[in-house]
């Protein structure tokens, strides 16, 4: 019997969650995540997923409920997007600070104001400092696979840190593709339920969220930081083991595509990586030495991989659906910071694109490649940060 089905990103993610068998799900619906939580409610209703499903009144409550359940040692799941993620933000810190291995899906969506339900990555990127591990996926299959891997990473005793799986709103959540479903038995083997080392225990009662004043607080922060740094190795191993069991692996923290001899490399994340891959192939056929570095994980940040892969390039373009107003895209800052480890730093340029759901086409990406190649050869004056397809003339130009 074929275990391949046609599913949207939201549906694929819900199927992945069903395979991971969380014992408690607490969620509040928000576009474009809604289909995921609807499907999960269906699975609980039809009995194919044995889980406590809590319909809560807000995202703040959704994460709070997950925190309570996870503290009791239950495997938990929630999903949100945009405004919902921001409303949850206080609790994101509580979850990571309490070292609870909650897994969450975030459907990347623009943030108000102005209001928009369409996709960009400003929601999740604004939450980089919440102490969560952050994955970004390229397609529905990767969404399904990564939500399963997320539990493996989060619940690792060395890690014990919550994980956020990000998929682009609409472009991934609402488009359909053929996906392959892993076997339940193998998934159970890959992520068996485990006793959380810090779970609440009636025989050894504990007080949660104790106060830690100046003499002790910093140690807890160091502990959190160390755990996420250690997660890098766990993520790579989890991906390799997944490959052995299910035949698909993604390269760990990053995927380097045709970068070996590339002179110009685009760094990007999420669904744009898929489009960039096609442009790289097109340009390679025409003889251009170009490549793609896909960031799969932003926390822990893959600085070693970035240095190793980009260190050989002449010029780098960071293409992202984000802008930190008054500076540049957050991912661009991260990349530049990593590259300071090099003596010979390649030229780097930032391309802010797709804000509020504006499409990023093959043509746009080709233009980014053309621009960075032209900048590095001095053919045209370079711009450090530019908005792709602004849609109108720049002030005074």
């Amino acid at each position: 019997m074929s275990n391949r089905i046609f599913a949207s990103g939201d549906e694929a993610l819900a199927l992945g969650v069903r395979l991971a068998r969380p014992q408690v799900i607490a969620a509040y619906p928000i576009t474009p995540q809604t289909i995921t939580v609807e499907r999960l409610a269906d699975y609980v209703e039809d009995g194919s997923l044995k889980s406590q499903y809590l319909y809560v009144e807000s995202e703040h409550s959704a994460m709070s409920a997950c925190i309570g359940a996870s503290a009791m040692g239950a495997r938990t799941f929630t999903a949100t997007s945009s405004q919902g993620l921001l409303y949850m933000s206080e609790c994101l810190h509580y979850a990571s600070g309490s070292r609870l291995p909650i897994v969450m899906m975030d459907a990347n969506r623009s943030i108000a104001a102005p209001w928009s339900i369409y996709g960009d990555q400003r929601d999740a990127l604004s939450q980089l400092d919440t102490g969560w591990i952050q994955f970004y996926v390229e397609n529905a299959q990767e969404a399904l696979d990564m939500v399963i891997q997320a539990y493996r990473v989060a619940e690792d005793p060395e890690v014990m840190t919550p994980v956020m799986v990000n998929l682009d709103g609409f472009v991934l959540t609402h488009t359909y593709e053929l996906i392959e479903l892993p076997e339940q038995e193998l998934v159970d083997k890959y992520i068996p339920y485990r006793d959380y080392p810090n779970k609440m225990d009636l025989d050894n009662p504990k007080s949660t969220c104790i106060t830690a004043g100046p003499p002790y607080n910093m140690q807890f922060r160091y502990q959190q930081h160390t755990a996420i740094m250690k997660a890098a190795k766990v993520i790579v191993e989890a991906d390799k083991e997944y490959g052995r069991l299910f035949g698909r692996s993604y390269g760990g923290l990053v995927e380097s595509y045709r970068c070996d001899d590339a002179e110009a490399i685009i760094v990007t994340l999420g669904s744009v990586a898929g489009t960039t891959r096609l442009v790289v192939d097109d340009l390679r056929e025409k003889g251009y030495k170009v490549g793609l570095l896909k960031l799969r994980c932003l926390r822990p940040f893959p600085s070693e991989e970035v240095v190793k892969i980009l260190g050989k390039a002449k010029v780098v373009g960071v293409l992202e659906k984000d802008i930190s107003f008054g500076y540049e895209g957050a991912v661009f800052t991260e990349i530049n910071s990593a590259l300071t480890a090099l003596k010979d730093i390649p030229e780097t340029y930032n391309f802010v694109a797709g804000l509020g759901g504006r499409s990023i086409s093959k043509g746009d990406i080709r233009e980014v490649f053309e621009k960075i190649i032209s900048y590095s050869s001095g053919k045209e004056p370079a711009k450090r940060v530019e908005f792709v397809k602004l849609g109108c003339d720049d002030y005074g130009n």
Binding site: A71, M160, N204, K206, S207, T208, Y216, Y222, Q223, T226
Partner: protein, 100 residues
Amino acid sequence: MERPKVKAFTPPKKMEEYPLGPAYTAGNLVDVSSGMRTFRPVIDTEKCVKCMRCFLVCPDGVIDKSGEVLEIDYDFCKGCGVCAKECKIKAISMRKEGEV
């Protein structure tokens, strides 16, 4: 009046000695409250039937049941009033501090 026994606290020296996240065996305050109460609960021991409801709900565990009658440890009571609110027979009243 009985107070919980004070345990010696040895500050952790190594990271390994810290709990995994801030969940740890509950302790109790050892420093006397600095007089934050506006109202203090007073138990009418004539009325009280020692049902222990107040003992169970007191967030600070300041109701002592070791003696003949229930007693409140005013050194640690913060005057929240949960005991008075929960007492089914109204044996606990809240009296303004400074007034008799």
